[in-house]
């Protein structure tokens, strides 16, 4: 009985770790949709480029993990800056679809370039914090704690940014009402740009963390991660950051419980079933405001 409980606890922690990574990706989508009212399909590729940056930092240049993390986030920020300029700025008043299609084009390009330059195989990332600590007969992986911890710290920093700084207030104002914010003198272009960069930066962080956690980075890693992150974002309500966190955690946990009690092949379906069910039953998500989805 006890070992059964420990087994489930193990899966829960697996789920929380994976979930915190999904949450970071999901928060990125929330920021973009919240301030700009737009969706990007290139987020997975930003995550992937961040991950590769982390790989180079760790495996090739042998830098410590926090430097790798910072570099991954930095590269993602810059990439986000350019994506916003190319995909979203030219088509400001054209609605959801054209920018979405452009991001699809961008994601295809980035993936292909990654395959050409990096090769399609896995790049191995060295293990860090491979140890476990024993608590009451249960082995807790230090790495999992680290990942949950980093995600937590990033989220707190984000909250401070949004609640406490001038640019954060500008973002919130823009998210509430573009026209009014503009009328009040907020530089909308700058807010959009910074929001997109911030979201990308979080995606890059997630990428680096995934590389460390699974010891592998590869060019098409952004596909599933991006879509699952989006599912988490929709689950929580497109405009709610706590919702995104909740969504990420729940998807992560349910995935691992599915592996435990059903079969490991069905793990990936969970996120998409969540996506479909939420969209069909309650498109505004669990914690989101009512939006015109129907």
């Amino acid at each position: 009985m006890r070992s059964r409980l420990l087994l489930i606890l193990g899966q829960l922690i697996n789920g929380l770790t994976q979930g915190s990574i999904y949450a970071l990706i999901a928060i990125g989508f929330v920021i973009i949709f919240g301030t700009m009212n737009l969706v990007t399909f290139a987020h997975g590729e930003v995550y992937m480029i961040g991950a590769f940056m982390g790989y180079f930092a760790l495996s090739v240049w042998h830098l410590p993990w926090y430097v790798a993390l910072a570099m991954g986030m930095g590269v993602a920020w810059i990439l986000g800056f350019f994506i916003e300029k190319i995909a979203f700025r030219p088509l400001r008043a054209a609605g959801h679809m054209p920018p979405l299609l452009i991001t699809i084009g961008l994601s295809i390009i980035l993936k292909d370039l990654a395959v050409v330059f990096f090769g399609a195989e896995n790049r191995p990332v060295p293990s860090i914090y491979g140890e476990t600590i024993k608590i009451a007969g249960f082995q807790l992986s230090l790495l999992q704690l680290l990942i949950i911890g980093i995600a937590g710290v990033l989220i707190i920093v984000l909250r401070i940014l949004i609640q406490g700084t001038k640019i954060g207030r500008a973002m919130r104002a823009t998210a509430q009402d573009h026209e009014a914010a503009y009328a009040m003198g907020v530089n909308i272009n700058r807010v959009f740009s910074i929001s997109f960069c911030l979201a990308s930066c979080l995606g890059g962080a997630a990428g680096v963390m995934v590389g460390i956690y699974y010891n592998a980075v590869y060019p098409v890693m952004g596909d599933t991660a991006g879509l699952k992150g989006f599912a988490a974002c929709i689950f929580g309500g497109l405009t709610s950051i706590p919702g995104a966190i909740l969504g990420g955690m729940i998807i992560g946990i349910v995935e691992n419980l599915t592996v435990q009690f059903i079969a490991s092949g069905y793990r990936d379906i969970v996120a998409f079933i969540v996506l479909v069910i939420v969209l069909v039953i309650r498109p505004q998500g669990i914690l989101g405001k009512t939006i015109r989805a129907v």
Partner: protein
């Protein structure tokens, strides 16, 4: 009589325009006996059906579906399973594949077609991925990642197709039939309702058109034709695996549709032929295929969203390089 490319619908009246083209297509294999080139032509033919069928929902009705490859796959697997396990011939697997795909289309359309725009797009992606994963996991039905090998070739009244030369004529025939069917649908009242829904769904509803039922019909038609393409693909390639039906495939078909042009008969045909031939002509760019497709898609949206032969306005172009005053609002612009 000047006519925009997107207005062209093949009818008996304008036979002197399309008949020579058809004639050229019919004789072309006699001059080019290379199996490899004919193989490419066969694939172009398959994608003509796929792009044209996606056009029904995305182009004519303005519903942005991103799940097309899944129905293509459902059609292909249906044909594969019926042919390998139950010995059904092509003449049976073809329509059955279309019907099964259509039924799945209906099953998905009913709960989800209330959604609009990005939400519809997302839910179709969700179904696309779910379909892919179910195919991979349901080993008993689909043999999962092993795929289904040994699908018999197309055999019509005892005559089995062997070379691409023969398959070319079959797909040409199917293309002609499908395009004519779609042309008839588009030219009819149902077709005009599709367009009405695309242009202004609220107005259409206000004159008592049951827009929901019509949208479902459009979806089912599109998936039916996609299923037909799948059946042909299965018997031609003689092997199906889930790998051919991923989200990337949907994006490819979508790119063909956008570049060729949405909302017209010629658009998807041109788009499919263009994008199938392109990688063959520019063989040296093979590694960069993704980059080329992505750039073409982006260039199309930024500079000519109506594509080569599409109806302008389906993808809104307001605000290209516009000023920040024209901001995106919380309202969803039509469609």
């Amino acid at each position: 009589m000047t006519m925009a490319l997107y207005d062209f619908i093949p009818r008996r009246g304008n036979m002197k325009i399309w008949l020579p083209v058809l004639g050229a297509l019919v004789v072309f294999p006699f001059f080019v006996r290379n199996e490899y080139i004919l193989n490419t032509a066969v694939f172009a033919g398959i994608y003509v059906i796929l792009a044209s069928s996606l056009n029904i929902t995305n182009g004519y009705t303005g519903l942005f579906s991103f799940g097309h490859a899944a129905f293509y796959g459902i059609g292909a697997y249906t044909a594969a399973i019926l042919a390998t396990r139950f010995g059904f011939p092509f003449l049976l697997t073809l329509p059955l594949a279309g019907i099964v795909a259509g039924i799945c289309g209906a099953a998905i359309a009913l709960p989800t077609l209330r959604l609009r725009g990005i939400f519809l797009a997302l839910v179709t992606i969700g179904f696309q991925q779910i379909t892919f994963l179910v195919i991979m996991n349901w080993i008993g039905l689909t043999r999962g990642p092993m795929g289904i090998p040994g699908i018999p070739p197309v055999s019509i009244f005892g005559f089995a197709l062997k070379s691409n030369f023969e398959y070319y004529y079959l797909i040409l025939f199917l293309d002609v039939v499908v395009i004519f069917l779609i042309a008839r649908i588009v030219d009819s009242r149902v077709g005009r309702t599709f367009v009405a829904i695309r242009e202004d769904e609220l107005a259409a509803q206000s004159i008592s058109i049951n827009t929901f039922r019509t949208k479902v019909l459009s979806f089912v038609l599109a998936t039916f034709f996609a299923g037909l393409a799948g059946a042909f693909f299965a018997h031609h390639a003689r092997f199906v695996s889930a790998d051919s039906f991923r989200l990337e495939e949907t994006f490819l078909i979508l790119t063909m549709l956008i570049v060729g042009g949405m909302g017209s008969i010629l658009g998807p045909v041109i788009g499919a032929v263009f994008l199938v031939i392109l990688p063959e002509v520019f063989r040296f760019l093979a590694e960069y295929r993704g980059v080329v497709y992505g750039l073409i898609m982006i260039a199309a949206i930024l500079f000519r969203p109506e594509g080569i032969a599409g109806v302008p306005g389906i993808i809104p172009t307001r605000g290209i390089l516009s000023r920040p005053e024209k901001l995106a609002t919380m309202e969803e612009p039509v469609p």
